[in-house]
Symmetry: C2
Subunit: 334 residues, 2 copies
């Protein structure tokens, strides 16, 4: 039986919603977790919920949301660090946290560590498009990148698309401006020949417009660009809904129309709801590390535990290791 | 009377729609343009439209859409180069082209040139948000940037927000990941203190989510990041509409609802329609250079001519020169 270590003190609704999420994961999906954090507070929630089937590991301290991420390495009694150590020592099989994102990344990179042969782990998101999904990688784990990092992200993204999304021979692109080879910034121009020399199904430059068009299955970029694009997308979605709402208020017929469309729009919103997909994974760490939204509720935590488990049952890391051996061009193999 | 040189051979619907756009600008707005390109073809359109009030300047050659941008500097008989030279020589007061974007930028930078004291011209877009507009600069003119370039973009963006959008003391941010000072990539970290030392109303780091939230009036970034964000936004908008349409098809009530909402959605789409805002300006060139979409129709061209004229009547370049003297920190003044 696999067990996911869950940082019960991270996130806006900790520990209440986090603990409830762990209970849901157990009841609905049969997935076990280890509850890490202030034991008294955790037990209070468990009692209120009349549930007593999960292991609790006490941790005195908490990494705050706005603390410098590196602080976590000094806060060895924090729920996040203790949860990371459980994974490192083989007592847990994965980590879920809704806490300080930078600190979770730090624990993933330095406490749990990355698999052999991989230069840097990276965060992937599977973004929706009318035809399916496109993996964008990295969206924030690595701010300043070298060409070899992007090459490794491409292999991680390929493995994600193939193993998790079930896409055979995924089409890989590098995010740039302009389609033609030779267009882009220095990083793109230097990475291009490496990707071309690899055994990936590399189609060349992808443009911003390709991210939501379904023309690529995997698009690689540095974590700065990826993070900006991801957050801009979220905010654009919100702004568009807001502006449409304002237009709707101006017309009686439109108000009726909006009412009739509500169930449909809710279906659509569900597709884009972070609580549904649970969280985003730091890929390439030795065990699954799932970072959920700070506003994660019980449902989001349940789904994050499900996602962590999915990476284990798909033997993601084994496939990734094989792919790093198989797909990288000879001259840049580490 | 000002005259805008219009490249009549650039764009998917050239010369037909381009020439018609120039006629519209004259008839609807009283704005004069010089039609540059294959004289015979231009005259054919003018005859069909029974119009004979605009100057035509013949140019033998055409810069193709997928040519290397720098080619334009060797194609001295191309419509784009000839139009650029008319501006350089003071025979025209601005340039409009729907042609090869890179080539238009090349003409703007190297044939027309930038105003004194400015390191690099940049492309700005005013993106909509529920409260108003936010200027994102640069969105593609400068791929690899130095800190001093971003500092200058900030002054250009400030001037754009103040003079064109009418925003007093615009709130300026630098696009980054994370709000706190010290977060971001190398470029952001080096630019931050320069912006802080300037006399701009600098609020610090802006995140991707701020772009459509109305929390800043001007957000600066390098042209690579800006271009990717802009194109991703366009494609996200399209994908969302597409996915909502598919959901709507599944429900009868939703279909009725969508029908009732149609006029409202069309109002909204109008706000986002590139033909309405005409084109995006290369700011900091000695005269207005407006780059329109390759798919520009007559209406888009008319509006691009209107926008070029607007920069002239607002004395944009004079204000920009003053601001460069006034707002830059002493130590980095050129």
């Amino acid at each position: 039986m696999t067990k996911i270590a869950v940082d019960c003190m991270g996130g806006d609704y900790a520990p209440e919603e986090i603990v409830k999420g762990c209970i849901l994961a157990y009841k609905d999906l049969g997935l076990e977790s280890i509850l890490v954090g202030d034991e008294e507070k955790i037990r209070q929630v468990l009692e209120r919920e009349k549930f007593d089937g999960l292991q609790v590991v006490h941790a005195e301290d908490v990494v705050q949301m706005h603390e410098a991420p590196s602080n976590v390495l000094r806060k060895k009694n924090s729920s996040l660090y203790v949860a990371g150590m459980l994974v490192r020592e083989g007592k847990a099989d994965g980590l879920v946290s809704a806490g300080n994102t930078g600190a979770v990344l730090t624990v993933g990179k330095f406490v749990i560590g990355s698999i052999p042969d991989l230069e840097r782990p990276a965060i992937a998101v599977a973004l929706p498009n009318p035809k399916g999904k496109t993996v964008l990688i990295d969206v924030g784990a690595n701010v300043d990148c070298k060409p070899s990092h992007l090459l490794h992200f491409a292999v991680i993204g390929h493995t994600h698309a193939e193993e998790i999304l079930g896409i055979k021979n995924p089409r890989v692109g590098i995010l740039s401006i302009g389609e033609e080879e030779g267009k882009g910034n220095e990083l793109v121009k230097e990475t291009y020949p490496l990707l071309k020399a690899s055994k990936l199904n590399f189609l060349g430059n992808a443009e911003g417009r390709d991210i939501y068009a379904g023309t690529f299955d995997v698009i690689v970029c540095d974590g700065f660009v990826g993070n900006v694009v991801l957050k801009a997308s979220e905010s654009l979605g919100f702004a568009v809904l807001q502006m449409i709402k304002e237009e709707v208020q101006k017309s009686f017929l439109a108000k009726i129309g909006a009412l009739l469309m509500k169930p449909t729009l809710n279906n659509f919103k569900k597709k884009a709801d972070f609580a549904e997909y649970g969280g985003i994974p730091l890929l390439g760490a030795k065990k699954p590390v799932i970072i959920t939204h700070g506003r994660a509720n019980a449902k989001a935590i349940k789904n994050a535990i499900r996602v962590a488990n999915e990476f284990l049952t798909h033997h993601f890391n084994e496939r990734l290791s094989e792919n790093l051996k198989k797909l990288l061009p000879q001259e840049v193999k580490v």
